[in-house]
Symmetry: C2
Subunit: 370 residues, 2 copies
């Protein structure tokens, strides 16, 4: 990639979601992105950062909650203060990504941002980086570019991207127009997408000139845009904290998909690079079962330090963060998550239902463990 | 019952077994008899003691391990020192029950002892006491009397008692001769016993004149008998501790069934009272499922203080001894036992296999949690 273009690229890592379906491992005080869920030795946010470094160097901005400042700095000690955006409270993805775009725009309107969630698992890294390189080249032609994921099954858990014609962009041979973004489908529709081809999973990866992002945001969400621009103006001054506190909590809560991606696609401004790397959003404990290898000794996937697993005819996943013995007998695909104040026991089949249980706990006032 | 006969009766409670199949709830440091496994508010040993009081008053002796002295005294504060027999180490039931018989014999050779394990669940109590009254009357005619349990299913987990003719003992209308004791049968044999009738479960309850117990013990296990008599002679003197330490650990290890009950039956010296009360030896966590009522809220049986259970389509048993949230999702007949250093997750179907897991843990050196 030519050096001028490369220098324009800045990574953005929104580190927001709690990962409710991974409770009680993930929770408000220790969200998903702060855990190593693949046994790689890296937390998800660290791995996300490291994937961007070959293209972005240290031009990487993280947007996270104020409560996670310390934990994020522990993970990313090289992150300088100007690249750490702390939200007083969650205001959804359009506010988070939009603020990053606005701050970067104020610093240099030529910046191309690439936004990648802090809690996804991707490999091999070089294939991801090749797709990202194509995305940057395509963004430079004046597009909002998403990297779509080749579906491996008829998932109803993800939104889809309908890809159109090849765009014939130099250095981005696989770049295609996006016809439209479609919402999470029902199972029949998902099967149709998989069989028919031309549909990719929407993993929320956006690479775009910051000006173009802000232009679409202004058209669709003028109040949100105005608020973010006010914060951005104050960002690199002494007023940062005061203006943030004044403006942030009144910003409209809306997903980047609705505020930018879908209307931009309708306007013909969105392109997609099909990603052929492996991708997992680690949406639930069944995913942790897929992403890790069972111990040959026990037949069980064991995550967390110091937990000692003994099994007799059992399979599944055990997470434990304390030095305890966990004995499993005659139980298949079990999920056991053992934390100081809460224990979850379920099966892979019911992994998605953890979210409802967390809602039930919240409703019953058991917020101390959430 | 006439007062002279009643005054001869002394209860004996061997409190020995760890209850390995109830690990990690039951363990060497906190065996089964020290737990309330029925939600009654009483530990099993307390309930056993209370069942005997109407007939034995405070003439009740407990035989347990030295390590359990404090816990037993907490449970039975009325127990005086002369009625607490502390074993330096477990030497099986013939040594435990035989020593009680020998000590009582030295005090008064006319005593009729009634030995009842500390870890069984029995009710209604008045029906048990009626059977015990018949047993005492029968013992007074010069018999070793067992109370047999009416089988409710073709169990392969218990030994059986083959009952013979009615003995026509005054005040013991249901007393019968015992033809023989039979070992735990295979399933076909157990089904035959149940269908044919005349077979009762051997619950290890023995009511007998102490002299007759010792006579059979002497014939079958002369070394054991001699050792026990040596200890008994020293028991109510200053030499108790010294002689116990010297003799105990060399005593033969043998079950009371082999050392006394079976040979005495062969000699025609054993009678049986059929017990028509409910009886459970709480042999595993499936038994805890039978003996307790599920919460209407959660569908789950919850034992232990402070544990907060949340469930979504789940049934089973949760024991927790710390203030934690335990969430169960989509899992039936699950057993979750949550203790400070060990967690067990299994199902009722596999409840019997807990023993093997404990053996595996022992073999692997994880004795810190056993």
């Amino acid at each position: 990639m030519n050096a001028d273009l490369l220098a324009r690229f800045h990574g953005v890592i929104p580190a927001g979601g709690v990962g409710t379906r991974l409770w009680p491992l993930s929770r408000a005080s220790a969200p998903k992105f702060l855990h190593d869920l693949t046994g790689s030795g890296s937390t998800l946010i660290r791995a996300t950062y490291d994937r961007l470094v070959p293209l972005a160097g240290e031009r990487i901005m993280v947007v996270t909650g104020r409560a996670h400042r310390g934990a994020v700095m522990d993970q990313l000690p090289e992150l300088c203060d100007e690249n750490l955006v702390l939200e007083p409270e969650p205001r959804d993805s359009a506010a988070a990504i939009g603020l990053a775009a606005a701050i970067l725009y104020r610093r240099d309107p030529n910046i191309i941002m690439g936004s990648f969630a802090a809690d996804q698992v991707i490999g091999p890294v070089d294939i991801f980086q090749k797709a990202l390189s194509e995305a940057i080249h395509t963004a430079a032609t004046g597009k909002i570019v998403t990297i779509g994921i080749h579906p491996t099954h008829a998932s109803t858990a993800f939104g889809y991207i309908k890809a159109g014609d090849l765009l014939n962009v130099a250095n981005a041979p696989t770049a295609r127009a996006v016809v439209e973004f479609v919402e999470k489908p029902d199972e029949d529709t998902a099967r149709g997408y998989l069989a028919g081809g031309g549909f990719l999973w929407n993993a929320g990866m956006f690479v775009a000139p910051v000006g173009l992002m802000l232009e679409h945001l202004k058209s669709n969400e003028p109040d949100l845009h105005a608020g973010l621009m006010r914060i951005a103006e104050a960002w690199d001054t002494d007023e940062r904290e005061a203006v943030m506190n004044e403006v942030w909590t009144d910003l409209p809560k809306i997903a980047i998909d609705y505020a930018v991606a879908e209307p931009a696609a309708a306007a013909g401004d969105v392109a997609v690079i099909p990603g052929v790397f492996n991708w997992d959003d680690v949406g639930d404990f069944a995913a942790i079962g897929r992403l890790n290898k069972a111990s040959e000794d026990t037949g069980v996937i064991s995550l967390g330090e110091n937990v000692r697993v003994y099994s007799d005819n059992a399979t599944g996943v055990v997470y434990g963060d304390r030095p305890r013995v966990v004995a499993l007998i005659g139980i298949d695909d079990v999920i056991v998550v053992d934390t100081a104040d809460a224990l979850l026991v379920t099966t892979k089949e019911h992994a998605q239902k953890v979210k409802q249980t967390v809602e039930k706990l919240k409703a019953s006032g058991a917020t101390d463990v959430l």
